[in-house]
Protein backbone atom coordinates (compact mmCIF):
# COMPACT_ATOMS: atom_id res chain seq x y z
CA UNK A 1 0.00 0.00 0.00
CA UNK A 2 2.85 2.35 0.85
CA UNK A 3 4.19 2.25 -2.70
CA UNK A 4 1.03 2.87 -4.65
CA UNK A 5 -0.12 5.80 -2.48
CA UNK A 6 -0.97 8.84 -4.59
CA UNK A 7 -1.04 11.05 -1.52
CA UNK A 8 1.31 10.61 1.42
CA UNK A 9 1.62 12.87 4.44
CA UNK A 10 4.20 12.12 7.06
CA UNK A 11 4.89 14.02 10.26
CA UNK A 12 2.82 16.93 9.03
CA UNK A 13 2.44 19.86 11.43
CA UNK A 14 0.51 23.04 10.79
CA UNK A 15 0.10 25.99 13.11
CA UNK A 16 -1.60 29.35 12.76
CA UNK A 17 -0.44 32.37 14.70
CA UNK A 18 -3.29 34.63 15.72
CA UNK A 19 -1.98 37.60 17.65
CA UNK A 20 -0.34 36.17 20.78
CA UNK A 21 -1.93 32.77 20.30
CA UNK A 22 -0.60 29.88 18.30
CA UNK A 23 -3.23 27.38 17.19
CA UNK A 24 -1.91 23.97 16.33
CA UNK A 25 -4.11 22.46 13.63
CA UNK A 26 -2.06 19.34 12.90
CA UNK A 27 0.68 17.85 15.04
CA UNK A 28 2.75 15.27 13.17
CA UNK A 29 -0.11 13.93 11.11
CA UNK A 30 0.37 10.88 8.88
CA UNK A 31 -1.89 9.87 6.04
CA UNK A 32 -1.72 7.75 2.91
CA UNK A 33 -4.33 7.70 0.17
CA UNK A 34 -3.88 5.16 -2.61
CA UNK A 35 -4.50 6.07 -6.21
CA UNK A 36 -8.12 5.49 -7.18
CA UNK A 37 -9.46 6.07 -3.68
CA UNK A 38 -12.47 8.23 -2.84
CA UNK A 39 -12.10 9.51 0.70
CA UNK A 40 -14.65 11.55 2.61
CA UNK A 41 -13.20 13.73 5.37
CA UNK A 42 -15.63 14.65 8.11
CA UNK A 43 -15.17 16.61 11.27
CA UNK A 44 -16.43 19.50 13.31
CA UNK A 45 -16.15 23.04 12.03
CA UNK A 46 -12.66 24.39 12.61
CA UNK A 47 -11.07 20.96 12.82
CA UNK A 48 -8.76 21.73 9.93
CA UNK A 49 -10.49 20.05 6.99
CA UNK A 50 -10.03 22.98 4.62
CA UNK A 51 -6.48 23.42 5.84
CA UNK A 52 -5.81 19.77 5.00
CA UNK A 53 -7.09 20.20 1.44
CA UNK A 54 -5.03 23.39 1.05
CA UNK A 55 -1.91 21.51 2.10
CA UNK A 56 -2.66 18.59 -0.23
CA UNK A 57 -3.29 20.95 -3.12
CA UNK A 58 -0.18 23.02 -2.54
CA UNK A 59 -1.96 26.28 -1.82
CA UNK A 60 -0.78 26.44 1.77
CA UNK A 61 2.47 25.34 3.38
CA UNK A 62 3.06 23.04 6.34
CA UNK A 63 5.31 24.02 9.21
CA UNK A 64 6.88 20.55 9.37
CA UNK A 65 6.63 17.23 7.64
CA UNK A 66 6.53 15.89 4.12
CA UNK A 67 3.77 16.02 1.54
CA UNK A 68 4.19 13.66 -1.36
CA UNK A 69 1.74 13.73 -4.26
CA UNK A 70 2.21 11.41 -7.23
CA UNK A 71 5.74 10.76 -6.09
CA UNK A 72 6.62 14.44 -5.84
CA UNK A 73 7.66 16.22 -2.63
CA UNK A 74 5.48 19.30 -3.01
CA UNK A 75 6.64 20.75 0.31
CA UNK A 76 9.98 21.30 -1.43
CA UNK A 77 8.61 23.12 -4.46
CA UNK A 78 8.98 26.84 -5.04
CA UNK A 79 5.87 28.99 -5.58
CA UNK A 80 6.05 28.89 -9.37
CA UNK A 81 6.68 25.15 -9.40
CA UNK A 82 3.70 24.68 -7.12
CA UNK A 83 1.52 26.61 -9.54
CA UNK A 84 2.67 24.32 -12.35
CA UNK A 85 2.11 21.29 -10.12
CA UNK A 86 -1.48 22.35 -9.35
CA UNK A 87 -2.24 23.01 -12.99
CA UNK A 88 -1.04 19.53 -13.95
CA UNK A 89 -2.05 17.30 -11.05
CA UNK A 90 -4.85 18.76 -8.94
CA UNK A 91 -8.45 19.76 -9.56
CA UNK A 92 -10.28 21.86 -6.95
CA UNK A 93 -14.02 21.94 -6.33
CA UNK A 94 -15.39 24.45 -3.82
CA UNK A 95 -18.61 24.82 -1.87
CA UNK A 96 -19.54 28.06 -3.64
CA UNK A 97 -18.49 26.93 -7.13
CA UNK A 98 -16.16 29.94 -7.58
CA UNK A 99 -16.86 30.40 -11.27
CA UNK A 100 -15.87 33.58 -13.08
CA UNK A 101 -19.12 35.50 -13.46
CA UNK A 102 -18.14 37.23 -16.69
CA UNK A 103 -17.22 34.01 -18.47
CA UNK A 104 -19.59 31.47 -20.02
CA UNK A 105 -19.64 27.87 -18.82
CA UNK A 106 -17.34 26.84 -21.67
CA UNK A 107 -14.94 29.73 -21.02
CA UNK A 108 -14.82 28.88 -17.32
CA UNK A 109 -13.94 25.31 -18.18
CA UNK A 110 -11.35 26.50 -20.69
CA UNK A 111 -9.57 28.70 -18.14
CA UNK A 112 -7.10 26.05 -16.84
CA UNK A 113 -6.25 25.12 -20.44
CA UNK A 114 -4.83 28.61 -21.00
CA UNK A 115 -1.92 27.32 -18.94
CA UNK A 116 -1.24 24.48 -21.36
CA UNK A 117 0.29 24.40 -24.82
CA UNK A 118 -2.95 23.18 -26.36
CA UNK A 119 -4.17 24.97 -29.48
CA UNK A 120 -7.55 26.57 -29.89
CA UNK A 121 -9.19 23.55 -31.49
CA UNK A 122 -7.74 21.11 -28.96
CA UNK A 123 -8.89 23.31 -26.09
CA UNK A 124 -12.33 23.44 -27.61
CA UNK A 125 -12.62 19.68 -27.85
CA UNK A 126 -11.28 19.18 -24.29
CA UNK A 127 -13.88 21.65 -23.00
CA UNK A 128 -16.66 19.91 -24.91
CA UNK A 129 -15.62 16.54 -23.51
CA UNK A 130 -15.46 17.84 -19.92
CA UNK A 131 -18.90 19.43 -20.26
CA UNK A 132 -20.26 16.16 -21.67
CA UNK A 133 -18.87 14.24 -18.70
CA UNK A 134 -20.86 16.45 -16.32
CA UNK A 135 -23.88 16.37 -18.61
CA UNK A 136 -23.85 20.07 -19.45
CA UNK A 137 -23.14 19.94 -23.16
CA UNK A 138 -26.18 22.11 -23.85
CA UNK A 139 -25.22 24.87 -21.39
CA UNK A 140 -21.82 25.77 -22.85
CA UNK A 141 -22.78 29.32 -23.75
CA UNK A 142 -24.62 30.09 -20.51
CA UNK A 143 -23.23 32.44 -17.89
CA UNK A 144 -23.08 31.32 -14.24
CA UNK A 145 -25.92 33.69 -13.29
CA UNK A 146 -28.15 31.88 -15.79
CA UNK A 147 -27.57 28.50 -14.16
CA UNK A 148 -28.80 26.75 -11.02
CA UNK A 149 -26.45 25.95 -8.16
CA UNK A 150 -26.22 22.33 -9.23
CA UNK A 151 -25.39 23.32 -12.81
CA UNK A 152 -22.75 25.77 -11.64
CA UNK A 153 -21.18 23.08 -9.49
CA UNK A 154 -21.10 20.77 -12.49
CA UNK A 155 -19.33 23.48 -14.50
CA UNK A 156 -16.85 23.72 -11.63
CA UNK A 157 -16.32 19.94 -11.80
CA UNK A 158 -15.78 20.16 -15.55
CA UNK A 159 -13.21 22.91 -14.92
CA UNK A 160 -11.50 20.70 -12.33
CA UNK A 161 -11.17 17.71 -14.66
CA UNK A 162 -10.54 19.43 -18.00
CA UNK A 163 -6.77 19.22 -17.69
CA UNK A 164 -7.06 15.60 -16.58
CA UNK A 165 -5.49 15.73 -13.08
CA UNK A 166 -5.20 12.55 -11.01
CA UNK A 167 -6.33 14.17 -7.78
CA UNK A 168 -9.61 15.99 -7.09
CA UNK A 169 -9.94 17.99 -3.89
CA UNK A 170 -13.53 18.90 -2.99
CA UNK A 171 -14.36 21.23 -0.10
CA UNK A 172 -17.99 20.67 0.89
CA UNK A 173 -19.05 20.46 -2.75
CA UNK A 174 -22.70 19.90 -1.87
CA UNK A 175 -22.83 22.18 1.16
CA UNK A 176 -24.96 24.71 -0.66
CA UNK A 177 -27.23 22.34 -2.57
CA UNK A 178 -30.53 20.59 -1.85
CA UNK A 179 -30.59 16.83 -1.34
CA UNK A 180 -31.56 15.80 -4.86
CA UNK A 181 -29.05 18.11 -6.51
CA UNK A 182 -26.41 17.12 -4.00
CA UNK A 183 -26.97 13.45 -4.85
CA UNK A 184 -26.54 14.21 -8.57
CA UNK A 185 -23.25 15.94 -7.89
CA UNK A 186 -22.08 13.13 -5.62
CA UNK A 187 -23.06 10.56 -8.22
CA UNK A 188 -21.01 12.50 -10.76
CA UNK A 189 -17.99 12.45 -8.43
CA UNK A 190 -18.52 8.74 -7.91
CA UNK A 191 -18.53 8.21 -11.66
CA UNK A 192 -15.32 10.18 -11.99
CA UNK A 193 -13.78 7.95 -9.34
CA UNK A 194 -15.08 4.63 -10.64
CA UNK A 195 -14.88 5.15 -14.38
CA UNK A 196 -12.11 7.66 -14.87
CA UNK A 197 -10.04 6.50 -11.91
CA UNK A 198 -9.79 9.96 -10.31
CA UNK A 199 -8.55 9.95 -6.73
CA UNK A 200 -10.92 12.11 -4.72
CA UNK A 201 -10.61 13.70 -1.29
CA UNK A 202 -13.93 15.26 -0.31
CA UNK A 203 -14.58 17.29 2.80
CA UNK A 204 -18.19 17.14 3.93
CA UNK A 205 -20.48 17.72 6.89
CA UNK A 206 -23.13 15.46 5.49
CA UNK A 207 -23.07 11.76 6.44
CA UNK A 208 -25.28 11.00 3.44
CA UNK A 209 -22.67 12.55 1.18
CA UNK A 210 -19.91 10.57 2.84
CA UNK A 211 -21.72 7.36 1.85
CA UNK A 212 -20.80 8.01 -1.80
CA UNK A 213 -17.13 7.73 -0.88
CA UNK A 214 -15.26 4.47 -0.53
CA UNK A 215 -14.31 5.33 3.03
CA UNK A 216 -14.58 8.11 5.57
CA UNK A 217 -11.93 9.77 7.75
CA UNK A 218 -12.99 11.61 10.87
CA UNK A 219 -10.84 14.56 11.75
CA UNK A 220 -10.93 15.83 15.31
CA UNK A 221 -8.41 17.90 17.26
CA UNK A 222 -5.83 17.47 14.56
CA UNK A 223 -6.02 13.66 14.36
CA UNK A 224 -7.92 11.07 12.41
CA UNK A 225 -10.05 9.19 14.91
CA UNK A 226 -11.42 5.62 14.48
CA UNK A 227 -9.16 5.40 11.51
CA UNK A 228 -5.88 4.20 12.89
CA UNK A 229 -5.82 1.48 10.26
CA UNK A 230 -5.84 4.09 7.49
CA UNK A 231 -2.91 6.13 8.68
CA UNK A 232 0.31 4.92 7.21
Amino acid sequence: MADDALVRLSGLSKRFVKGQETITIFDRLDLAIPAGDFVAVMGPSGSGKTTLLNLLGGIDRADEGEIQIAGQRIDQLAESELARFRAAHVGFIFQFYNLMPMLTAAQNVELPLLLTKLGRQQRKSHVATALEVVNLGDRAKHYPREMSGGQQQRVAIARAIVSDPQLLLCDEPTGDLDRATADEILATLQTLNRELGKTIVMVTHDPAAAKFARRTLHLDKGRFVDAADLAA
Binding site: A83, A87, F94
Partner: protein
Protein backbone atom coordinates in the same frame (compact mmCIF):
# COMPACT_ATOMS: atom_id res chain seq x y z
CA UNK B 1 -10.51 32.36 -25.32
CA UNK B 2 -7.16 34.04 -24.73
CA UNK B 3 -5.61 36.46 -22.25
CA UNK B 4 -6.85 39.46 -24.21
CA UNK B 5 -10.45 38.29 -24.02
CA UNK B 6 -9.99 37.60 -20.34
CA UNK B 7 -8.66 41.13 -19.81
CA UNK B 8 -11.49 42.58 -21.86
CA UNK B 9 -14.13 40.64 -19.94
CA UNK B 10 -12.61 41.68 -16.63
CA UNK B 11 -12.63 45.33 -17.64
CA UNK B 12 -16.26 45.26 -18.69
CA UNK B 13 -17.68 43.17 -15.89
CA UNK B 14 -19.25 46.39 -14.60
CA UNK B 15 -20.15 48.14 -17.82
CA UNK B 16 -21.24 51.47 -16.41
CA UNK B 17 -18.13 51.81 -14.30
CA UNK B 18 -15.87 50.91 -17.22
CA UNK B 19 -17.64 53.36 -19.52
CA UNK B 20 -17.43 56.20 -17.00
CA UNK B 21 -13.70 55.62 -16.60
CA UNK B 22 -13.24 55.45 -20.36
CA UNK B 23 -15.15 58.69 -20.85
CA UNK B 24 -13.12 60.55 -18.24
CA UNK B 25 -9.87 59.38 -19.80
CA UNK B 26 -11.23 60.28 -23.22
CA UNK B 27 -11.96 63.83 -22.10
CA UNK B 28 -8.52 64.18 -20.55
CA UNK B 29 -6.81 63.13 -23.76
CA UNK B 30 -9.07 65.28 -25.91
CA UNK B 31 -8.04 68.28 -23.79
CA UNK B 32 -4.42 67.24 -23.92
CA UNK B 33 -4.46 66.87 -27.69
CA UNK B 34 -6.13 70.19 -28.39
CA UNK B 35 -3.99 72.17 -25.95
CA UNK B 36 -0.80 70.52 -27.11
CA UNK B 37 -1.83 71.28 -30.71
CA UNK B 38 -2.32 74.92 -29.75
CA UNK B 39 0.93 75.13 -27.87
CA UNK B 40 2.72 73.57 -30.79
CA UNK B 41 1.23 76.07 -33.22
CA UNK B 42 2.01 79.04 -30.97
CA UNK B 43 5.60 78.07 -30.57
CA UNK B 44 6.16 76.69 -34.06
CA UNK B 45 7.49 80.05 -35.28
CA UNK B 46 10.11 80.14 -32.55
CA UNK B 47 11.23 76.59 -33.06
CA UNK B 48 11.38 76.95 -36.80
CA UNK B 49 13.30 80.22 -36.73
CA UNK B 50 16.70 79.68 -38.23
CA UNK B 51 19.51 80.39 -35.82
CA UNK B 52 21.41 82.50 -38.35
CA UNK B 53 18.51 84.74 -39.38
CA UNK B 54 18.18 88.29 -38.08
CA UNK B 55 15.29 90.71 -38.41
CA UNK B 56 15.78 94.46 -38.63
CA UNK B 57 12.82 96.67 -37.78
CA UNK B 58 12.21 100.33 -37.03
CA UNK B 59 13.44 101.04 -33.50
CA UNK B 60 10.22 102.86 -32.59
CA UNK B 61 7.96 99.98 -33.46
CA UNK B 62 7.95 97.16 -35.95
CA UNK B 63 4.89 98.66 -37.67
CA UNK B 64 6.93 101.80 -38.59
CA UNK B 65 8.59 101.85 -42.04
CA UNK B 66 12.27 101.90 -42.99
CA UNK B 67 13.81 103.42 -46.15
CA UNK B 68 14.41 100.97 -49.04
CA UNK B 69 17.96 102.31 -49.19
CA UNK B 70 18.75 100.29 -46.07
CA UNK B 71 18.45 97.13 -48.16
CA UNK B 72 21.59 97.92 -50.15
CA UNK B 73 23.46 99.37 -47.21
CA UNK B 74 22.91 96.30 -45.04
CA UNK B 75 23.99 94.05 -47.89
CA UNK B 76 27.44 95.59 -47.75
CA UNK B 77 27.92 95.02 -44.01
CA UNK B 78 30.55 92.49 -43.06
CA UNK B 79 29.09 89.21 -41.81
CA UNK B 80 25.84 89.56 -43.76
CA UNK B 81 25.33 86.74 -46.26
CA UNK B 82 21.91 87.57 -47.71
CA UNK B 83 19.26 90.23 -47.15
CA UNK B 84 15.68 90.60 -48.21
CA UNK B 85 12.81 92.85 -47.22
CA UNK B 86 9.05 92.71 -46.77
CA UNK B 87 6.02 94.98 -46.46
CA UNK B 88 2.81 94.17 -44.68
CA UNK B 89 0.01 94.64 -47.21
CA UNK B 90 -3.00 94.22 -44.88
CA UNK B 91 -4.78 92.15 -47.50
CA UNK B 92 -8.15 90.56 -47.79
CA UNK B 93 -10.02 88.70 -50.51
CA UNK B 94 -13.48 90.01 -51.51
CA UNK B 95 -14.56 90.77 -47.95
CA UNK B 96 -12.59 92.33 -45.03
CA UNK B 97 -13.63 89.25 -43.03
CA UNK B 98 -11.35 87.18 -45.26
CA UNK B 99 -8.24 88.73 -43.80
CA UNK B 100 -5.19 87.25 -45.48
CA UNK B 101 -1.49 87.53 -44.80
CA UNK B 102 -0.07 89.19 -47.90
CA UNK B 103 3.50 90.42 -48.11
CA UNK B 104 5.14 92.60 -50.75
CA UNK B 105 8.67 91.25 -51.13
CA UNK B 106 11.75 91.25 -53.31
CA UNK B 107 11.32 87.88 -55.07
CA UNK B 108 14.80 86.50 -55.67
CA UNK B 109 16.32 87.40 -52.32
CA UNK B 110 13.21 86.40 -50.36
CA UNK B 111 13.04 82.93 -51.89
CA UNK B 112 16.75 82.51 -51.32
CA UNK B 113 16.58 83.31 -47.62
CA UNK B 114 13.55 81.09 -47.01
CA UNK B 115 14.69 78.28 -49.30
CA UNK B 116 14.79 75.79 -46.42
CA UNK B 117 11.20 76.56 -45.40
CA UNK B 118 9.34 76.79 -48.67
CA UNK B 119 9.45 74.87 -51.89
CA UNK B 120 8.49 76.34 -55.21
CA UNK B 121 8.86 74.55 -58.52
CA UNK B 122 11.85 76.19 -60.34
CA UNK B 123 9.80 77.25 -63.38
CA UNK B 124 7.17 78.81 -61.09
CA UNK B 125 9.86 80.64 -59.12
CA UNK B 126 11.30 81.99 -62.39
CA UNK B 127 7.86 83.08 -63.52
CA UNK B 128 7.33 84.88 -60.23
CA UNK B 129 10.60 86.79 -60.56
CA UNK B 130 9.76 87.70 -64.20
CA UNK B 131 6.09 88.53 -63.91
CA UNK B 132 5.58 91.98 -62.38
CA UNK B 133 2.02 91.33 -61.19
CA UNK B 134 2.78 87.73 -60.28
CA UNK B 135 1.93 86.21 -56.94
CA UNK B 136 3.13 83.15 -55.08
CA UNK B 137 0.29 81.63 -53.10
CA UNK B 138 0.77 79.28 -50.18
CA UNK B 139 -0.68 75.82 -50.63
CA UNK B 140 -3.13 76.19 -47.74
CA UNK B 141 -4.43 79.52 -48.99
CA UNK B 142 -4.72 78.25 -52.58
CA UNK B 143 -6.67 75.24 -51.38
CA UNK B 144 -8.95 77.46 -49.30
CA UNK B 145 -10.13 79.46 -52.33
CA UNK B 146 -9.52 76.86 -55.01
CA UNK B 147 -6.88 79.00 -56.74
CA UNK B 148 -4.66 77.60 -59.46
CA UNK B 149 -1.60 78.78 -61.31
CA UNK B 150 -2.70 81.22 -64.00
CA UNK B 151 -5.73 82.53 -62.09
CA UNK B 152 -6.15 86.28 -61.86
CA UNK B 153 -7.20 87.31 -58.40
CA UNK B 154 -8.12 90.70 -56.92
CA UNK B 155 -6.76 91.35 -53.42
CA UNK B 156 -7.76 94.45 -51.49
CA UNK B 157 -5.71 96.24 -48.86
CA UNK B 158 -7.12 97.68 -45.68
CA UNK B 159 -4.09 99.99 -45.45
CA UNK B 160 -2.98 101.04 -48.91
CA UNK B 161 -4.64 102.36 -52.02
CA UNK B 162 -3.47 102.69 -55.60
CA UNK B 163 -2.68 105.97 -57.27
CA UNK B 164 -5.86 105.53 -59.31
CA UNK B 165 -7.89 105.49 -56.08
CA UNK B 166 -8.66 101.81 -56.04
CA UNK B 167 -7.67 99.82 -52.98
CA UNK B 168 -7.71 96.56 -54.92
CA UNK B 169 -4.73 95.09 -56.73
CA UNK B 170 -4.96 92.40 -59.40
CA UNK B 171 -2.48 89.56 -59.33
CA UNK B 172 -1.70 86.61 -61.56
CA UNK B 173 -0.85 83.46 -59.68
CA UNK B 174 2.50 82.36 -61.03
CA UNK B 175 3.17 79.61 -58.53
CA UNK B 176 2.16 77.63 -55.48
CA UNK B 177 4.41 77.66 -52.46
CA UNK B 178 4.69 74.44 -50.48
CA UNK B 179 5.91 74.00 -46.92
CA UNK B 180 9.18 72.06 -46.63
CA UNK B 181 8.18 70.83 -43.13
CA UNK B 182 4.71 69.92 -41.90
CA UNK B 183 4.65 72.50 -39.07
CA UNK B 184 5.21 75.36 -41.50
CA UNK B 185 2.17 77.37 -42.33
CA UNK B 186 1.41 78.32 -45.92
CA UNK B 187 -1.71 80.36 -45.38
CA UNK B 188 -0.25 83.49 -47.01
CA UNK B 189 0.61 85.16 -50.29
CA UNK B 190 3.66 86.93 -51.68
CA UNK B 191 3.89 89.48 -54.49
CA UNK B 192 6.48 91.81 -55.97
CA UNK B 193 7.57 94.87 -54.01
CA UNK B 194 8.33 96.65 -57.28
CA UNK B 195 4.70 96.38 -58.40
CA UNK B 196 3.49 97.48 -54.96
CA UNK B 197 5.83 100.43 -54.61
CA UNK B 198 5.11 101.76 -58.07
CA UNK B 199 1.33 101.65 -57.76
CA UNK B 200 0.65 102.65 -54.14
CA UNK B 201 -0.46 106.20 -53.41
CA UNK B 202 1.78 106.76 -50.35
CA UNK B 203 4.78 105.40 -48.54
CA UNK B 204 6.94 105.18 -51.64
CA UNK B 205 10.46 103.78 -51.18
CA UNK B 206 9.78 102.43 -47.74
CA UNK B 207 9.81 98.86 -46.49
CA UNK B 208 8.39 97.17 -43.43
CA UNK B 209 11.31 95.11 -42.21
CA UNK B 210 14.47 93.40 -43.36
CA UNK B 211 15.41 89.78 -42.94
CA UNK B 212 19.03 88.81 -43.24
CA UNK B 213 21.23 85.79 -42.91
CA UNK B 214 24.59 86.05 -41.25
CA UNK B 215 27.59 84.13 -42.50
CA UNK B 216 27.60 82.33 -39.14
CA UNK B 217 25.22 82.28 -36.18
CA UNK B 218 28.22 83.10 -33.98
CA UNK B 219 28.39 86.52 -35.63
CA UNK B 220 24.73 87.35 -34.93
CA UNK B 221 25.39 89.77 -32.08
CA UNK B 222 28.24 91.57 -33.87
CA UNK B 223 26.26 91.94 -37.06
CA UNK B 224 23.17 93.18 -35.21
CA UNK B 225 25.29 95.80 -33.43
CA UNK B 226 26.93 96.91 -36.68
CA UNK B 227 23.57 97.42 -38.34
CA UNK B 228 21.98 99.31 -35.49
CA UNK B 229 25.09 101.50 -35.12
CA UNK B 230 25.14 102.26 -38.80
CA UNK B 231 21.67 103.81 -38.56
CA UNK B 232 22.01 105.32 -35.10
CA UNK B 233 21.08 109.01 -34.93
CA UNK B 234 19.40 108.86 -38.33
CA UNK B 235 15.72 109.60 -38.67
CA UNK B 236 15.07 105.88 -39.08
CA UNK B 237 16.89 104.11 -36.27
CA UNK B 238 16.79 100.33 -36.35
CA UNK B 239 16.48 97.45 -33.91
CA UNK B 240 18.00 94.16 -35.03
CA UNK B 241 17.47 90.89 -33.29
CA UNK B 242 17.38 87.20 -34.08
CA UNK B 243 14.30 85.92 -35.80
CA UNK B 244 13.71 83.68 -32.78
CA UNK B 245 13.67 86.62 -30.39
CA UNK B 246 11.46 88.55 -32.79
CA UNK B 247 8.94 85.70 -32.95
CA UNK B 248 9.15 85.15 -29.23
CA UNK B 249 8.36 88.77 -28.47
CA UNK B 250 5.41 88.47 -30.80
CA UNK B 251 4.16 85.31 -29.10
CA UNK B 252 4.75 86.63 -25.59
CA UNK B 253 1.80 88.94 -26.14
CA UNK B 254 -0.40 85.86 -26.33
CA UNK B 255 0.54 84.67 -22.86
CA UNK B 256 2.47 81.69 -21.72
CA UNK B 257 0.50 79.02 -23.49
CA UNK B 258 2.87 76.26 -22.50
CA UNK B 259 2.29 76.92 -18.82
CA UNK B 260 -1.47 76.93 -19.24
CA UNK B 261 -1.31 73.63 -21.11
CA UNK B 262 0.83 72.15 -18.40
CA UNK B 263 -1.46 73.31 -15.59
CA UNK B 264 -4.73 72.28 -17.20
CA UNK B 265 -3.47 68.95 -18.45
CA UNK B 266 -1.64 68.32 -15.22
CA UNK B 267 -4.72 68.98 -13.10
CA UNK B 268 -6.91 66.82 -15.33
CA UNK B 269 -4.38 64.02 -15.25
CA UNK B 270 -3.85 63.99 -11.53
CA UNK B 271 -7.62 63.91 -11.02
CA UNK B 272 -8.10 61.11 -13.50
CA UNK B 273 -5.10 59.25 -12.18
CA UNK B 274 -6.64 59.24 -8.72
CA UNK B 275 -10.12 58.30 -9.89
CA UNK B 276 -8.97 55.55 -12.23
CA UNK B 277 -6.31 54.30 -9.83
CA UNK B 278 -8.77 54.12 -6.99
CA UNK B 279 -11.40 52.43 -9.13
CA UNK B 280 -8.87 49.87 -10.34
CA UNK B 281 -7.83 49.08 -6.77
CA UNK B 282 -11.48 48.64 -5.80
CA UNK B 283 -12.34 46.61 -8.84
CA UNK B 284 -9.44 44.23 -8.30
CA UNK B 285 -10.16 43.96 -4.58
CA UNK B 286 -13.74 42.93 -5.38
CA UNK B 287 -12.23 40.11 -7.38
CA UNK B 288 -9.95 38.82 -4.64
CA UNK B 289 -11.72 35.49 -4.49
CA UNK B 290 -11.59 34.99 -8.25
CA UNK B 291 -7.90 35.80 -8.31
CA UNK B 292 -7.47 33.21 -5.59
CA UNK B 293 -9.32 30.73 -7.78
CA UNK B 294 -7.14 31.51 -10.79
CA UNK B 295 -4.03 30.99 -8.72
CA UNK B 296 -5.50 27.73 -7.43
CA UNK B 297 -5.93 26.64 -11.03
CA UNK B 298 -2.23 27.25 -11.50
CA UNK B 299 -2.02 30.78 -12.90
CA UNK B 300 1.39 32.06 -11.76
CA UNK B 301 1.71 35.42 -10.01
CA UNK B 302 3.43 36.99 -13.00
CA UNK B 303 0.58 36.06 -15.30
CA UNK B 304 -1.95 37.56 -12.86
CA UNK B 305 0.15 40.72 -12.70
CA UNK B 306 0.14 40.98 -16.48
CA UNK B 307 -3.61 40.43 -16.67
CA UNK B 308 -4.30 43.29 -14.26
CA UNK B 309 -1.76 45.62 -15.87
CA UNK B 310 -3.16 44.68 -19.26
CA UNK B 311 -6.57 45.69 -18.03
CA UNK B 312 -5.48 49.12 -16.83
CA UNK B 313 -3.49 49.73 -20.01
CA UNK B 314 -6.42 48.62 -22.16
CA UNK B 315 -8.61 51.02 -20.20
CA UNK B 316 -6.18 53.89 -20.78
CA UNK B 317 -6.00 53.09 -24.51
CA UNK B 318 -9.76 52.70 -24.91
CA UNK B 319 -10.17 56.17 -23.42
CA UNK B 320 -7.03 57.79 -24.72
CA UNK B 321 -7.07 56.81 -28.40
CA UNK B 322 -10.61 58.04 -29.13
CA UNK B 323 -9.79 61.11 -27.01
CA UNK B 324 -6.84 61.80 -29.25
CA UNK B 325 -9.09 61.20 -32.28
CA UNK B 326 -11.55 63.78 -30.99
CA UNK B 327 -8.69 66.21 -30.36
CA UNK B 328 -7.66 65.69 -33.97
CA UNK B 329 -11.19 66.46 -35.20
CA UNK B 330 -11.34 69.59 -33.03
CA UNK B 331 -7.91 70.67 -34.26
CA UNK B 332 -9.00 70.19 -37.88
CA UNK B 333 -12.16 72.19 -37.25
CA UNK B 334 -10.26 75.03 -35.57
CA UNK B 335 -7.50 74.99 -38.14
CA UNK B 336 -9.79 76.68 -40.65
CA UNK B 337 -11.38 79.24 -38.38
CA UNK B 338 -8.19 80.16 -36.54
CA UNK B 339 -5.89 79.87 -39.52
CA UNK B 340 -5.17 83.61 -39.57
CA UNK B 341 -4.43 83.90 -35.86
CA UNK B 342 -2.82 80.63 -34.83
CA UNK B 343 -1.82 78.96 -38.06
CA UNK B 344 -0.90 75.31 -38.15
CA UNK B 345 -2.92 73.91 -35.25
CA UNK B 346 -2.46 70.19 -35.66
CA UNK B 347 -2.04 66.94 -33.81
CA UNK B 348 1.48 66.26 -34.98
CA UNK B 349 3.08 62.81 -34.80
CA UNK B 350 5.10 64.14 -31.83
CA UNK B 351 1.91 65.03 -29.95
CA UNK B 352 0.33 61.68 -30.79
CA UNK B 353 3.49 59.94 -29.63
CA UNK B 354 3.54 61.88 -26.38
CA UNK B 355 -0.15 61.08 -25.85
CA UNK B 356 0.50 57.40 -26.44
CA UNK B 357 3.32 57.43 -23.89
CA UNK B 358 1.03 59.21 -21.44
CA UNK B 359 -1.64 56.55 -21.99
CA UNK B 360 0.84 53.78 -21.28
CA UNK B 361 2.09 55.63 -18.20
CA UNK B 362 -1.47 56.19 -16.99
CA UNK B 363 -2.24 52.51 -17.50
CA UNK B 364 0.91 51.36 -15.75
CA UNK B 365 0.59 53.73 -12.82
CA UNK B 366 -3.09 53.04 -12.17
CA UNK B 367 -2.63 49.31 -12.62
CA UNK B 368 0.58 48.84 -10.70
CA UNK B 369 -0.76 48.79 -7.14
CA UNK B 370 -3.71 46.47 -7.79
CA UNK B 371 -1.54 44.27 -10.01
CA UNK B 372 1.10 43.88 -7.32
CA UNK B 373 -1.60 43.24 -4.72
CA UNK B 374 -3.11 40.58 -6.95
CA UNK B 375 0.26 39.01 -7.66
CA UNK B 376 1.17 38.79 -3.98
CA UNK B 377 -2.24 37.56 -2.86
CA UNK B 378 -2.06 34.35 -0.80
CA UNK B 379 -4.50 31.82 -2.14
CA UNK B 380 -5.70 30.58 1.24
CA UNK B 381 -6.43 34.18 2.28
CA UNK B 382 -8.12 35.00 -1.00
CA UNK B 383 -10.44 32.02 -0.84
CA UNK B 384 -11.27 32.77 2.76
CA UNK B 385 -12.46 30.14 5.16
CA UNK B 386 -15.85 28.61 4.82
Amino acid sequence: MNDFLLIFKNLFRKKLRAILMIVSILIAFAIFGVLAGFERAFNAGQDLAAADRLVTVNKINFTQPLPIAYYNRIQSIEGVADVTHANWFGGYYQDPKNFTVVLAIEPASYLKIFASEFEVAPDQADAFVRERTGALVGETLAAKWGWKVGDRIPIASSIFSQKNGSSTWDFTITGILKAAKPQIDTNFMLFQYAYFDETRSFGKDTIGWLILRTTSAALNDQVADRIDQMFANSSYETATDTEKAFNKAFVAQLGNIALIVLLVVGAAFVTILMIVGNTMVMSVRERTREIGVMKTLGFPGGRILRLVLGESILLALLGGLPGLGIAWLIAMAMRESLANFVPGIAITPEIAGAALLLMLALGLITGLVPALNAMRLKIADALGRS
